[in-house]
């Protein structure tokens, strides 16, 4: 694997399976009386968050703490960033305090990549603008493998699993990372979006694209609903929420079209009643709570594999 985790596309199939296998072993730690491993004692992980986040930041924090790393949480609000400090200066300041890895979330696509050039520690992208969110894709892949491949999952990828990603693909870093990672793992991915929320040059992505949600539902093993991101929408992409819900929302009627074994995913936070109906979100098919629990395990695996071993450049 690479020194940094910036894009899900940087992961080879072997790297991705290794992360999922490591996570599968680490999952048992959550059931133990002592939910802690000594592996990253003495390492420092900085959570550098320029955007609001609950689950990703707390998930990284829990993961680092379960591995006994020291965690410094930095949020741009109420810091020197408000006084105009640049990303580079902030990062160098934090590194001077002895950080071994920086987990960064930034509203600008590409910020983690720039950061990786400036610091000597590891950089993990926790979401950059509308670009990528690789650990979300890893935890989604882990959840799919857990639910559809079953207990004998070790060493396996997701060959032939049909995944449909639905909603605001244009603004979604979750969709980008998932398409890249799931394709690497052998899944067949289809993205479904209204024409206004379909990215340009979608034909260059390693997936199929469709505007017809109902047709895709019948042949899906996994439906991944995306959040309608009001905060990134600078223009009117659909007439009304009601119309969006009618054509691209997942309600109980639509859920009935899914094959028996299919699962419903959502990266959170959900807009209940917009892209996903409350009954669907709370149904046994929904993996939304499992995704949050798996987030900690998968991030533990990433932190362990990036920080647990020797750090010399030559390795």
């Amino acid at each position: 694997m690479n020194r940094h985790l910036i894009s899900a596309g940087d992961l080879s199939r072997d790297d991705a399976v290794l992360i999922l296998d490591t996570a599968a072993e680490l999952a048992s730690v959550a059931d133990r009386p002592i939910k802690k491993l000594p592996t990253l004692r003495g390492r420092t992980v900085v959570n550098l968050f320029y955007e609001d986040s609950t689950r990703t930041r707390t998930s990284f924090e829990a993961a680092a703490k379960r591995l006994s790393a020291d965690v410094i949480n930095f949020s741009a609000k109420g810091s020197s960033v408000a006084k105009g400090e640049s990303l580079k200066d902030t990062a160098l300041t934090l590194e001077a305090m002895g950080s071994d890895a920086i987990v960064v979330r930034h509203p600008a696509s590409g910020a983690p990549r720039r950061l990786a050039d400036w610091v000597s520690g590891r950089v993990i992208n926790a979401g950059d603008g509308t670009h990528e969110h690789p650990t979300q894709a890893l935890l989604d892949a882990f959840t799919i493998r857990q639910r559809l491949v079953g207990p004998d999952q070790r060493g396996k990828a997701l060959d032939g699993v049909r995944v449909t990603i639905v909603g605001d693909v244009l603004h979604s870093r979750v969709a980008r990372s998932n398409v890249l990672l799931l394709d690497t793992l052998g899944a067949e991915v289809t993205v479904v979006a209204p024409p206004t929320l379909m990215p340009w040059a979608i034909e260059t992505w390693p997936c199929k694209a469709s505007y017809d949600f109902d047709a895709e539902l019948r042949k899906s093993d996994v439906v991944m609903m995306l959040r309608v991101q009001q905060e990134r929408m600078s223009a009117a992409f659909f007439p009304t929420v009601r119309e969006y819900r009618r054509r691209y929302g997942l309600d109980t009627g639509r859920m009935a079209l899914l094959p028996e074994h299919a699962i419903v995913m959502h990266p959170g936070p959900m807009n209940r009643g917009v892209e996903i109906a409350a009954e669907v979100a709370d149904s046994p098919r929904s993996t939304i709570v499992a995704q949050v629990a798996n987030g900690v395990t998968v991030r533990m695996a990433v932190l362990y594999l990036m920080l647990g071993g020797a750090t010399e450049e030559t390795l």
Binding site: M1, T22, E25, P33, T39, M306, G308, G309, A310, T311
Partner: protein, 209 residues
């Protein structure tokens, strides 16, 4: 780059049993490696250890066998089967991965984790017998004791090894030993087991430079 590579098998210090897939792993016919235990001798040693465990634990009541991956797990399963033959009831058997507790993690790239499987009754109040193939520096066993500590509080912990090759770096000793094998520090000991390697054998040779 390339900070992480899966390394098959567990690697105690620089002497551990590797995997046949790894370049440089000896096949028995290879030059410089000589067999020090035959399949028959391994079988007899395990039978004797099974008897000794039963004797020391008064019939194996409240006893759990935990193998240290990779080859310790297969040895633990064999011991459990023997104990089942002798006593009629199979002994609970599991595996204990020590990777996350090793003291040499920072000396090489991050390693793939092996499986930890504890029998349903857990380890609290049990007599835990740790099983490994080769006892060398004692560092793997120290890591295993730490890992065990996180799983619960056994009544006591014992150690069974197929080969004790000496050169301890920590105050650790085995309770049950298949064979004491005097070695030079520069030598390497490899254990081959049918389940993984297609044959049973213990080999002694020169360590890679």
């Amino acid at each position: 780059m390339c900070a992480m590579r899966p390394e098959p098998g567990h690697e105690p210090g620089d002497n551990g049993p590797g995997n046949l897939d790894r370049p440089g792993y000896p096949s028995p016919s290879q030059q410089g490696w000589k067999a020090v235990l035959t399949p028959e001798e391994i079988r007899r040693a395990l039978s004797r250890i099974a008897h000794e465990i039963l004797e020391r634990t008064h019939g194996g009541e409240g006893m759990v066998l935990l193998g240290i991956p990779t080859r310790g797990v297969y040895l633990a399963r064999r011991l459990a089967a023997r104990i089942g033959e002798f006593e009629g009831a199979p002994a609970p058997v599991g595996s204990l991965d020590v990777t996350m507790h090793r003291d040499d993690l920072r000396l090489r790239p991050a390693r793939a984790l092996q499986r930890t499987e504890v029998p349903p009754d857990g380890v609290d109040g049990k007599i835990v017998v740790l099983v490994d193939d080769v006892l060398f520096s004692g560092r793997t066993v120290r890591a295993a004791l730490d890992a065990l500590n996180d799983l619960g509080r056994p009544k006591s912990v014992q150690l069974a090894v197929l080969v004790d090759r000496g050169h301890r770096e920590l105050p650790i000793r085995a309770d049950y030993v298949g064979k004491n094998l005097p070695t030079a520090h520069r030598e390497a000991v490899r254990v081959l087991l049918t389940e993984l390697d297609g044959e049973d054998s213990v080999l002694l040779g020169e360590r890679d430079q």
